[in-house]
Amino acid sequence: MRNDRSDRLGVRSVALVGQPNCGKSTLFNALAGFKANTGNFPGTSIRYTRSLVSVGGQSLEVVDLPGTYSLTPRDAAEEVTRRFLEQGRADAVIAVLDASVLSRSLELLLEVLEMGLPTVVALNMMDEAARKGVEVDPAALEALLGVPVVPTVATRGKGVVAVILKALGQTMRPGSGRPPTYDRDVEESLGRLAAEVPPGLAESVGRTPRSLAIRLLEGDFWEVQRLGGHPESAGLLEAAARERRLLAEMHGWPEDTVFGSHRHAMAVDLFEKVATVRPRRRRSRRERLDDWIMHPVLGLLLAVGVFAGLFGVSFYFGNFLSEVVAGPFDRIVEAAVPGADRGLSASLIRGFLQGVSGGVGIVLPYLLPLLLILSLLEDVGYLPRAAFLVDGLLHRVGLHGKSVIPLILGYGCNVPGIYGTRILESHRDRVLTALLVPLTACSARTVVILALVGATMGPWWALGVYGINILVTALAARGMSALAPGQVTGLLMDIPPYRLPPLGAVAKKVWFRVREFLVQAWPILVAASMVLGLLEWMGVEQGVNRVLAPVTTGLLGLPEAVGVTLFFGILRKELALVMTFQALGTQHPAEVMTPVQLLTFTLFLTFYVPCVSTLAAQVREVGPRWTTVGVLLSTGIALAVAAATRLVGLWVA
């Protein structure tokens, strides 16, 4: 079992395990350069990220596993972590503990040690613990558990190298520490149960008989289900139920928490031995900040203000930058290929230049401030607080608790929003949320709104489009949840302390996302621009436009030329914007479209078929059938909203 793990890749593998928002991904990035997404928001990492790093002349694979509160998983993201560890794919584990909530972190560490994996402890967030008045003695913890303990401050890269060197040592001389023993009666139960485990069964699921017995005493749902398939384990499951009842009776605790309570007591005991707490007399400044930010009335007003500010800053800064960059590009395009030249090479060159200029002159100026502010909000810890405030409102539209997290992520980019649905426990909530996320105006659609409506009609109109987007998303949620009434699973969310991210980290994160745009999206933009140039030259474009005309001009009253751009918008939303400029033959759409047409078109673009990356994520998460439903739904909504806009426009005029 243990041998095939490293031989498979030829490199040793070290996995980072820890509770959500304990700084695993920050530690990972400090080791591997910026590769994993981070944020002061529990559940930022839903999938695992791996990277090869070189330590002391040796190659080592480091794996950043999704955060989990315990190894008894409750959702799909946590299940990823547990399965990874059970399959023996890690040669050593770095257990990342958040020193500021040490006793809770210790419970997970005890579970890891119980699995018998070679472990190193990274005692992270020592600075935050100190701020809370908690002093932790790493040497005492090391002595009690028998595994190396290294204090770290991952945000500043402190202790990172030491941790990885210790982990490397563990892969070569595995030692799994000494998990403390439980009370005598618990140990007796465990002993009896472990003796009942049929030979070979524990090993076949990557465990020792003792650790399997622990899972069963805990009433681990996954484990029980999995063993239910083995005919020889019927007796074992019966014995487990018997021991659970026995323990519950003996201690007067309910069956499903009796074992967890013992581990909790053990963790508290450890905590008291290794930490000293100085009671604070005053509430810290950061805590008092919450009196304003999480205030029922002021907080909500502030949330509206924050998102309007995000929008406004992106708009003004984007406009400014866009004019600075796009103006000279226009002149270059005109100088290189005069508008009258309709030859093949002129069409291709014009497409190329327009794609290049669209990327840096139109999309990037709006995207850059948007990403910067979103990153700051994410890292400071504002988003969970916003989620706290709007959860009650979301309940009114039939969405429950945690759905707010994927939806908020969706306003940044739909793809992580879709993956974020994994933190939802029920299938109904996952499907519902995965269908709603593509309706949210992601940063690419926000760029479209800012450039098509904001730049031509003013920022308030753009904000209005954004408002309509939120309203329609809420109505869709209301309608869908009425069609599929489900059981309420409540919100249960960590509220992390405010953290001031080092500026370097914010800059790296923004650069990570900008680079993603430059490397992945921009070439597509340029290529698609050239394809459009080619289609124009061949005259195919007009054919496509004519086929779509009943919808574009007939139903929505738009210029026929925008038809073909809708196809490009499915590749990427920014593409629809750049293509529109190209198809209309101007960088100033207000010259050829009326305000009502601009609004109608923009609203249609924000709602119709999501981009291919989002569709791919949807297919992965909820399957092709629901993805199709989602496409039909969003197209229907897009048509209805756009047609309604046109009607209102006609009526007003």
Partner: protein, 80 residues
Amino acid sequence: MTLSEAPVGSRVRVVGHERPGACQCASAIAAMGIHPGDEIRVIRAAPFHGPVLVEVPSSGVRLALGRGMARSLIVEPLPA
């Protein structure tokens, strides 16, 4: 009484869960740091019957519990 009835600013002790075993709420709440016997403080409540924010002073854990979750947690008041 249940946590959802505890006034903001009050201190309470966790007694147990309504309908233990009916959902995985009990173990979920425990894994996130609130156990029977713990003393917790109700810090604030969100508008529109939203979640309540509680703190476990002994461990420094701060959690937002939706109203449904708060209703499933049985607590007893502690003197202020």
